[in-house]
């Protein structure tokens, strides 16, 4: 057990080094920027006389994190998982990694840590970006929210959505390692997102993994977060078992 832990720590440190100067940082910064821009637009166009400040912040958080949970987060997860896996697919790295004296599963766990970490970084970027944009806007545009950003609510929403995405993180990483390239993962994400939107419109709630984060956000549903966390762990364990047993890609 100690060897497995040591191998996993080593693999994670090595994985972090391999992310250096890779393209994986682009979606991590770029995609949250879309939601931050939406928050800025909501703030600038707000009529302070029509809505009390607390409701304005609630509106911003709901709009930005709603867009994030329903559309942007699944796409980000699919893209980041594909890019982390592509580091090895592109460098023909699997045969090198899997011939090293480490527990084979350590490399897959390290890749999961990378995808989960980048998703966390993107979600934190979003929460921080909304707080900064809100503060700047209130300074420049007195008619917008003049109260301080409700950091507790902002980061609470971020944490809820992030935890609700763990099943997606595990699932998309498995897809991306199993099928090289961004195509399969992105196609699954697009189908998942739009079928989830249709299901939400029908009032079906969180039927697919893509519905867990939005439904958790909209209804403050901790049970859905738990389903995502437990499901994500189960898929991670299953995929590590599967990927460690199969022949190393050429």
């Amino acid at each position: 057990m100690a060897a497995v832990l040591t191998d996993t720590i080593r693999a994670t440190r090595s994985q972090a080094l391999r992310l250096r100067r890779s393209g994986v940082w682009l979606p991590t910064i770029g995609i949250p920027s879309v939601a931050i821009a939406l928050a800025a637009i909501v703030l600038w166009s707000a009529e302070p006389s029509a809505v009390p400040e607390a409701d304005l912040w609630a509106e911003i958080i709901q709009a930005a994190f709603g867009l994030w949970a329903v559309l942007l987060l699944p796409l980000l997860t699919a893209l980041v998982a594909a890019q982390v896996a592509a580091l090895e697919h592109g460098a023909r790295g699997w045969k090198h990694l899997l011939a090293l004296p480490t527990w084979k599963g350590a490399h897959f766990v390290a890749a999961w840590v990378a995808v989960a970490g980048l998703t966390a970084a993107a979600t934190l970027t979003l929460a921080t970006g909304i707080a900064v944009v809100g503060t700047l806007t209130s300074a420049l545009q007195p008619l917008a929210a003049s109260s301080a950003a409700p950091l507790g609510r902002l980061f609470g929403a971020a944490g809820l959505v992030y935890a609700g995405s763990m099943l997606l993180v595990s699932g998309h990483l498995w897809l991306s390692i199993r099928w090289p390239g961004v195509g399969v993962g992105l196609a699954v994400a697009v189908v998942g997102v739009f079928s989830n939107i249709a299901l939400l419109n029908l009032g079906a709630g969180a039927v697919t993994p893509y519905g867990l984060a939005p439904s958790a956000l909209m209804g403050d549903r901790i049970d859905l977060v738990l389903i995502s966390l437990i499901g994500g762990l189960a898929v991670l364990i299953g995929s590590v078992w599967h990927l460690s047993r199969r022949d190393a890609p050429a």
């Binding site: 060897a3 040591t6 191998d7 080593r10 693999a11 440190r13 090595s14 080094l17 391999r18 250096r20 100067r21 890779s22 580091l87 592109g90 460098a91 023909r92 790295g93 045969k95 090198h96 990694l97 899997l98 011939a99 090293l100 004296p101 480490t102 527990w103 022949d247 190393a248 050429a250």
Partner: protein, 322 residues
């Protein structure tokens, strides 16, 4: 006394760095590796030869635990290779399989660092292997995306040498190397062999290079290991071409052909393909009886190339592991 017997019976007492029995692997209905019994003595440089698709790379991937055999056993450095022993065994093995696995977004040093972290070897190993493969500090500090194929190959070799392996497995290491790179590779392999600490198993298409560095060879054809043994012994069995210098090459060739002996006319004689001593004597007799003056008879030293092309896929495997 008991300790001596225990030592003799221990798997570590086996003289082979690699030993396989009945090793078999299939890709669907295609048998890529067929009942291979490989024996690579410790401390040797084993040239692993075969045409494309012969099963060399699949065999090497099996030895590294990258794919699981459908049948057969593998012993590396005296230990059986299993799912549970693999990680411990791979601490003693370095490998470069097909193209080197290098990350284009990282520098040469960072590539080595990424593997060094995983292997848990000291930082000083990075400088040592860079020096050994002849990569300068300035080149090692550049991003690998700008490397030539030869520089990538050197970096791949450095990655394989990081842990000072007891067994080094190299698949086509000379691919893409310029003459300087080939010389460096040759020097590295020669030094490893001289030091005697490392067994090298190297597959290559470059027969001339293998002939220069290998002490033992194995030939794969159609998934089967058809020849194996010390190079000197195997080449002695192979027969070189015999050249007979004489005064009328065309008449001599005609006389030989009449007797069913194949001969090629040269500027000053005839060339007989890979003949035994008895066949050479018979050919000289035919020429002399035809009234042609014989000036000299010489036999070319058998080459690895001639041996390789004479190794028939349908032949019964010959194993000479002394």
């Amino acid at each position: 006394m008991a300790a001596i017997f225990a030592g003799l019976l221990s798997p570590n007492a086996l003289p082979h760095a690699v030993e396989t029995t009945g090793l078999t692997h299939r890709y669907g209905p295609i048998v890529a590796v067929d009942d291979v019994r490989m024996a690579v003595p410790k401390g040797c440089v084993y040239g692993f030869l075969g045409p494309n698709g012969a099963g060399k790379t699949t065999t090497l991937r099996l030895l590294l635990g990258l794919i699981r055999p459908r049948a057969g056993t593998i012993h590396l450095l005296g230990e059986s290779l299993t799912a549970t022993s693999r990680a411990a065994l791979m601490r003693r093995v370095g490998a470069l399989i097909e193209e080197p696995s290098v990350y284009r977004n990282l520098t040469g040093v960072e590539n080595l660092e990424a593997t060094r972290m995983l292997r848990g070897v000291p930082r000083s190993a990075v400088g040592r292997v860079l020096e050994r493969v002849g990569l300068s500090a300035s080149d090692a500090g550049r991003r690998v995306g700008g490397y030539s194929q030869g520089m990538r190959q050197r970096l791949g070799l450095a990655l394989a040498l990081l842990s000072e392996p007891e067994l080094l497995v190299l698949d086509e290491p000379a691919n893409g190397l310029d003459p300087d790179g080939i010389q460096t590779l040759r020097d590295v392999l020669a030094r490893l062999h001289q030091e005697g600490e490392t067994t090298v198993l190297v597959s290559s298409h470059q027969l001339g290079e293998v002939e220069r560095v290998a002490t033992h060879i194995g030939v794969m054809r159609s998934g089967r290991l058809v020849r194996q043994g010390p190079m000197r012994d195997l080449l002695q069995q192979a027969q070189g071409n015999t050249h007979i210098r004489l005064n009328d090459p065309h008449a001599a060739a005609a006389a030989l052909r009449q007797q069913g002996i194949a001969a090629t006319v040269t500027e000053d004689g005839v060339l007989l393909d890979a003949t035994s001593d008895a066949e050479t004597a018979a050919a000289i007799r035919v020429v002399v009886e035809a009234g042609i003056d014989v000036f000299a008879v010489s036999t070319e030293a058998p080459s690895l190339e001639a041996f390789f092309f004479a190794s028939d896929a349908d032949a019964e495997p010959i194993m000479e592991m002394s």
